[in-house]
């Protein structure tokens, strides 16, 4: 299959072209806009290039209205941001992976009941209610996607990165997982089985990557520092640090 990375068109340009091509379908947002809602669609499209500041203004206005009405406390918003910026994120998942690498009994529990074993390390809650951990081996490579939405295991990986939520990833991960992996720099031999997990229901997936060789002497904490978000979604492998004996 063609490697779409070779195509010289960026996603933003692609989407703005698509929107311009179907300009009549682009409904004006129901929210405050600095320009009249009935301005021509093509102008709206051009206006979208400067969207961040436009959206930022609308979000700010909405926040101040809801604060005035007493529906929200701005300190709650600060706390939500703080939670997702510093408490809930891929470092949690990395600790789960490192523990599984150094503790065979934990690894066994993790693969048998992901939710309970992840809970042992104190992680759980919304979007992690029913966790399944799938293990990469020399013969099997796992890849996680949500084609219908952007479902993602928040307690262990935090909020999803933009690429995971994007149309290119969601559309191609199921039909061309090997091409997607190549685009992320992972080339798999034909005899490695690729298992794609489409998170259609309430189960959320975490990939347990292969422990790289040359890391036998590393501590659990050092190992956790090697584990990336992308490896736990299945679009990357974990590499040994430079200088580690292979």
């Amino acid at each position: 299959m063609a490697n779409e990375a070779d195509r010289p068109v960026g996603r933003r340009k692609f989407l703005s072209d698509a929107a311009a091509g179907t300009a009549g379908l682009v409904a004006a947002p129901n929210m405050k806009s600095p320009e009249p809602a009935d301005r021509p669609a093509r102008e709206q499209d051009q206006g979208h290039q400067a969207a961040p500041s436009d959206v930022a203004l609308r979000v700010k206005a909405l926040e101040s209205i809801l604060v005035e009405k007493g529906m929200i406390d701005p300190a709650t918003i600060d706390a939500v941001i703080e939670t997702y910026e510093s408490k809930v994120g891929p470092r949690n998942g990395a600790r789960v992976v490192a523990r599984a690498w150094v503790d065979a009994a934990y690894r066994k529990r993790l693969l048998a009941d992901g939710t309970a074993a992840i809970g042992e390390l104190g992680y759980g809650g919304a979007q992690g209610e029913h966790m399944v951990v799938v293990e990469n081996t020399p013969a099997v490579h796992n890849l996680v996607v949500c084609t219908l939405c952007s479902c993602y295991p928040w307690p262990v990986l935090g909020l999803p990165p933009t690429w995971y939520k994007s149309a290119p990833y969601r559309s191609r991960a199921v039909i061309d997982p090997r091409g997607v992996l190549r685009e992320f720099g992972v080339t798999l031999a034909d005899d490695v089985q690729v298992r794609v997990w489409d998170s259609t229901a309430e189960i959320r997936y975490l990939v347990l990557p292969e422990r790289p060789s040359g890391t036998e002497r590393m501590t659990e904490e050092q190992l956790a520092a090697l584990v990336t978000r992308n490896a736990m979604v299945g679009v990357a492998k974990v590499s040994a640090p430079r200088g580690a004996a292979a």
Partner: protein, 221 residues
């Protein structure tokens, strides 16, 4: 519904753009937006449509063009307007109508941590319903095209797979034609494994598989 959201297997969406070391929020407004959604979420209509359905019915061009948090904010605003908790005039002026009722925040700095951590399981461990399928059994994803929300992706419909796990009984998430939950439809949810060749034809690698969780109503023998 057969909407733009159901994009598994589509071509032409362009390359995947990856930013290294991506942070959860790329701009201040994204964090404020996400916080607003979590803080104001409990306000809205008493009878709610499925939230994913509300995303799915956005016009396709708009769905593709809107940034993730922008889409969530639009849906929050639509909900608050529908529940008469917010007006377009207020959005246009940036000020609350002095005559509008005043509320008390439901999510507060004191309970936000507990709110964010709360499990919202749809599994119904309280019910006992015998499974219609067993692990190892061959099944076919039904060829259905409901106009409401469904968790059965188009690319699986009509294809044969194998049950590889039974996750127990969950509330059914497919909705009626208006996006409202169907009552009393809890049923077993299974992981079904499809071979890539069954789904995509002979050019797919013979070893590769695609898995999804499907409810009993999505499956037939």
């Amino acid at each position: 519904m057969n909407g733009i959201h159901d994009m598994g297997g589509m071509h032409g969406m362009g390359p995947i753009e990856v930013r290294e070391d991506e942070r959860p929020f790329h701009a201040e407004w994204e964090g404020r937006a996400w916080g607003l959604i979590r803080a104001a979420g409990p306000f809205g209509p008493a009878r709610r449509r499925n939230f994913r359905y509300e995303h799915e019915i956005l016009p396709p061009a708009q769905y593709l063009q809107m940034q993730y948090y922008e889409r969530f904010i639009k849906l929050l605003v639509d909900r608050l307007i529908a529940a008469k908790l917010l007006t377009q005039a207020e959005l246009d002026s940036g000020r609350a109508d002095p005559a509008s009722p005043r509320f008390t925040p439901r999510v507060t700095p004191a309970n936000v941590a507990e709110q964010l951590a709360r499990r919202r399981s749809l599994r119904r461990d309280d019910l006992r319903i015998a499974p219609r399928f067993r692990v190892g059994q061959g099944v076919r994803a039904r060829n259905i095209n409901p106009v409401g929300h469904t968790r059965l992706p188009r690319y699986m419909r009509g294809h044969r797979g194998t049950i590889v796990a039974d996750h127990g009984i969950f509330d059914f998430q497919d909705t009626d034609a208006e996006g409202y939950t169907l009552p009393d439809r809890a049923q077993h949810v299974y992981t079904v494994s499809f071979s890539a060749r069954e789904l995509w034809g002979e050019t797919a690698n013979a070893r590769d598989t695609v898995h999804a969780e499907l409810w009993e109503d999505h499956l037939e023998r």
